[in-house]
Each structure stands twice: as C-alpha cells, then as structure tokens.
Amino acid sequence: MTPPKKSAVDRDVLIGMYKQMCLFRRFEERVGLAYTKQKFSGFCHLHIGQEGLAVGVQTALRTTDYMISGYRSHTQAIGKGIAPGAVMAELFGKVDGCCRGKGGSMHMFSKEHRFLGGHGIVGGQAPLAVGVAFAIRYRNEDNVMICYMGDAATNQGQVFEVMNMAATWDLPVLFIIENNRYGMGTDITRTTSVDALWKRALAFDMAHSDVDGMSAITVYNHVNSLVESMRKNKKPHLLEALTYRYRGHSVSDPGSYRTKEEVEDYQKNRDPIIGLGRFLLEQKFATEEELKGFDNEAKEKAKEAEAFADESPQPPVEELWDHVLVD
C-alpha cells in the first residue's frame, strides 16, 4: 500500500468540512423525523447525500459572497450562516424562524448572511442570481454569486435566458447544477437530449466544468480556484456537480423510480462523509474516536435546534398582514 499523498488542504479546513457535513446530515435526519412526528406539514425536500457539494462550495466562499438556491436548501442556508435553530423554527412555522414562520421549508432567507432564498419555482432563482451578479459588477465588488439549481431545472427557459446575459455581459455568477440524476420521479436522461448538462454552456461560449459532487475535497479545490478567477475576470461559470440524494424527492415520495441497489451503492461506496472520514484517518488528521465525537456533536446540535424550535412560540396570527408592502 503506497503511503497516501500528503493532503494539499490543511487539517483544520478538512476537519471543519467533516463536522459541517455531519451537522447537515444529522440536522436533515431530524427534520425528516420531525415531519413524521407531524411537528410541521407541507412540502419538505431533504438534502441527505448531497452534503459533499454543499460543504465543499461553502468552505471555498467568503462571507461577503451571495448564495441562492431552490427548495432543497435547509443545509445550504445553515452553511451560509443561518442558525440551525432558526431553520428548524421556520420549518415549524414559529416566530423565531428565519422568516418568522411565513416562508417555510422552501423559503429560507437571510439578508445578514446574504442567503437570498430558497425558492419554489424550479429555475426561478437563476434570473435573481444574475441580477445580484449584475449588482456586484455595478458596484465593483469582488464577490461572487453562487446559484444552485437542480438537474431538471436546466430545462427552464428563463435559465437559458439569463445564462446568455451573464455570458454576454460578464457577470460573476457560478451556476452550480446539483445533478442528482432525478427531477422528482423522472431520470434526467428521459427529458434531456444532451448526455452531460455542462454542455448547456456551449450555447453561450460560457466557461464550464464538472466535478464529483460526492467528494467534499474535490469540490472544495475545484470551486476554490473557480471563484478566485471569477473575482478577477468577472466571467460566469457553469459547474455540473454529480451528486445523489438518498431520500425521496420529498418526504412523501416512495421513490419507486429507482432501485434500492442504486441508492445503497452511493450510501456505501460514495458517501461524502465516509469518504472524507477515511481520508482524515489516512492522513492521521483524526482518529476513529474523534470522528465519532464530531458526529455526536452534530447530533447534539441538531437536537438543540429542534428544542429551540419546539420552545419558540407561534407568531401572532395578525402578523399575516405584515410584510406585504413596505412604507
């Protein structure tokens, strides 16, 4: 067994990513449980399995960067800075939710942390992202705009429209396609003629690449270099991240459209947490016990988040009249 190559990424960063992935995993598991315990209702789409991408990207960003996503975004919101308790409270419709209980699972927002939403219209967040990138250029900032979308979202007309504008006017938006192979119950290959989604960039002469979304380190290194060049050249980039979701499309989806074997293959052989954990052990950056400890910490934080949400009061009903228009 040849000795493992020395890690290019230093230990603290890797440990940080490992802890973050554990938190995201345990948090979403607890959200799923809370749903079955009927602590909240409506839609709920879990990000379990796609933590490697979320953490790899987040770790490569500055706090002043902007991020926007779709409805599968509880943990992207936490990664950007919203407290787990505030996300859980929002799920429970409580007043201490990050949107005072008026947004819900698909609509987590934080002005302070520049998380510009969870959004429920597939692809609808892309034009918003290009508008933020426009503002970045307008004010000569050197921030970047991270725009997540699903694989099936790439077939939305308004996504194409704004990719053209971003490429024509050099707007610093990083479009990240979370290609988890399915749009609800439809394998993306059944509704899309290209065999790789990064090819969509060819219609706009836009810089593009793909990355193994199941490896936090690979994502981190790749996105780190991308955003650094984007801060200078201001050009947009289309990144296809190959990833996978372990749970159904939403909590109420039986998932009959894919085999148990397929899911288990990812869980056993390509899990982002197991992968990074193994690397940490190989690099002697952590021991089994320490990894166990990080995971327990994560479970604890998730538990605290739920407790916080449980104790948070309901918002006053008459608050339904607030926030329609500002004066």
Binding site: S41, F43, S105, H119, G120, Q156, L320, W321
Partner: protein
C-alpha cells in the same frame, strides 16, 4: 353507484376520452412513469403506452405551446400543469396563442385542447405554491374556464372539456383529490356553461366553487340550525358564467354571498357581484357580500394560512351581515 376518489374520477374521464378518440394525448411532468404527481394519471401509461402519455421536461411554456401547435393540426392535447402556480410560465402560450389563434386566423385554426391541474392553496405550501389563478385567466376571451367540486362533477365536466373544440382551462384541487363521491358506471357528460344548485334555499344565495363549495355547504348546515335557509350555487364553469342560474337564484333569495379561495381584487366574485348588482338591482335587499382570501401572499404558518382563507365562521358572519342580523 360506485364510490370513487376525485383523482380516480378524473383519471377515468381521461382514459375514456383517450379510448374514444385516438387524437387525445396527455403530456405533463410525471404524468407517465411516476403515475402522476397526485396519481390522477395512474395507470394511463400502461394502458395507452408512451406515444400517448408523455413525461415532459420542466418547461411549462414549451410543452404548453407544443400542445397548442399539435391542436392546430388536428390532435387534441391534454396538458397537465403539476399545479397552476407553474402554469403562469405558460401564460404567453395560453393568452397570446391558444386564446387568439381562431380569431387571428379568421376562423381557420381552432384549438381543441385542455390545460388542467390543481389550483389554489393546499396545506402549508407557502406563497409560491398556493395561488388561485381563475381571476387572471377568466379575463381573456377565447378561453373556457371550468372547475369542479365533486368527483361526479369532475368526471362529467372533464369529459366535456376534452371534447370541446376550444381551449378549456380546467381547475382541480390538490386537497380534494382524495375525496370520495358517487360516480355512475355508465358514461355521462356534464355540459360546460351550466351551473348547479347544490342545495336549495330561500333566505340567501351562497355562490362558491372548487374546494370553497364545501365550506359553503358546511356554512349552510350551520345556518340551517339557526333557522336560516341558504341556497348553495356552484357555477362549475367560470367563463362563461351561467348568469341565468345566478340571477334566478338571487331574484328568489334577494341576498347573495360569494365565497372564493382567491384574492378579491377583480376576481370572479367581483365579476359576479357587478353583474348581479346590474341585473338584479331592484331585487337585492342588501349589497352582495364577499368572503375571499385576505389580500396577502399565502403565509406558511398553519394558523395564519387558515385565517387567510375563507372559513365557515366568516361565511356565516357574512350571511348574517347580508341579512342585517347580529
């Protein structure tokens, strides 16, 4: 008589019409392999095969326009929007193409097709997934807009909508898909443009449709216990409205309350109120009262959502107001 769910009744309507006319096909997200996001199209892919049941990419403008084009040359598409909240992306194809093709072409190209899907709020889905669109689409000439409050009405009206030679926008309801109701085995159709008195009454007329119809019926029961006899009228088709049935009922009761699970401004209810005041001005003992969604985007919070929507209590209160009783 068989008792089946709303989704089964709608599914039967589609299957019967696809059997009857080879030009009928179904296209929408998840309608085939997944058996439908809400299982309305369950079994249709197996029964009719992939040439007639198509799983579409998430491109509402695209596949709505595809339907209009196919209808121009003799096919009879059923285009499903997973919910009408996403149908708004196809408004250019619905409003600027489907609704105007016959007219612009001087009568050459009619558009025999149905756009269908659940409309209005379900439960805790938040602002972007809880809208009712009838107020916007009933404003447009060249479109027929129909809805349904029971499995029986659903099947009969959807069959008529599919056979109609104009674009019909058919509004269903997520929350009612599981509702059970009696549906005859033998074939039947319910004509478009005709309303239905769901409950006879003489003191006040309640007009409501889709899911709100059931709240009106509940309110009528509560009022009955207080000695108030409420007539409940379901217009079923919102464009064109069955004005005769409405005026006839109002001329009998002299008081009207309109209930809709949509915003009040320039809504179908506003239109009914304007027409009733105009044509039954001398028959009204009180102005038309309306019970609508509060004029706010839909909150996610359960209690706020409930307060935003019409409730039986608010309907009963409106009836008492229109009767000038405390």
């Amino acid at each position: 008589m068989a008792v089946i769910t709303f989704r089964e009744a709608l599914g039967q309507a589609i299957a019967e019409e696809m059997t009857r006319d080879a030009n009928v096909f179904l296209m929408g997200e998840e309608v085939g392999l997944y058996n439908g996001a809400y299982k309305v199209s369950k079994g249709l892919l197996d029964q009719f095969g992939p040439k007639r049941v198509w799983d579409a990419p998430i491109s509402e403008a695209g596949f709505a326009g595809l339907g209009v084009g196919a209808a121009m040359v003799g096919l009879r598409p059923i285009i499903e929007f997973m919910t009408w909240n996403f149908g708004i992306q196809a408004f250019d194809q619905i409003v600027n193409h489907a609704a105007k093709m016959l007219y612009m072409s001087g009568g050459q190209f009619n558009i025999p097709m149905v756009f269908r899907g659940p409309n209005g709020a379900a439960h805790m889905l938040g602002a972007q997934h809880s809208q009712a669109y009838e107020s916007m689409i009933t404003n447009i000439p060249g479109l027929i807009v129909a809805t349904c409050s029971t499995p029986y009405d659903g099947k009969g009206l959807l069959k008529s909508a599919i056979r109609n030679n104009n674009p019909v926008l058919f509004l269903e309801s997520e929350m009612m898909y599981g509702m059970k109701g009696e549906v005859p085995e033998e074939e039947y159709l319910i004509p478009l443009g005709k309303g239905d008195i769901k409950r006879e009454g003489k003191d006040v007329t309640l007009i409501a449709w889709n899911k709100a119809l059931h709240k009106a019926m509940e309110a009528a029961e509560a009022l009955n216990e207080q000695g108030i006899s409420a007539e409940v009228l379901d217009p079923r088709t919102l464009q064109p409205l069955d004005e005769d049935l409405i005026f006839e009922s109002v001329r009998k009761t002299h008081r009207l309350v309109i209930i809709e699970e949509s915003w009040s401004f320039g809504s179908v209810g506003a239109q009914i109120s304007d027409r009733v005041h105009k044509e039954c001005f001398d028959d009204l003992d009180a102005p038309v009262h309306r019970v609508c969604n509060e004029f706010v985007p839909m909150p996610y919070n359960e209690a706020q959502e409930e307060r935003t929507m019409p409730s039986v209590d608010r309907i009963v209160k409106a009836v008492k107001d229109v009767l000038y009783i405390a």
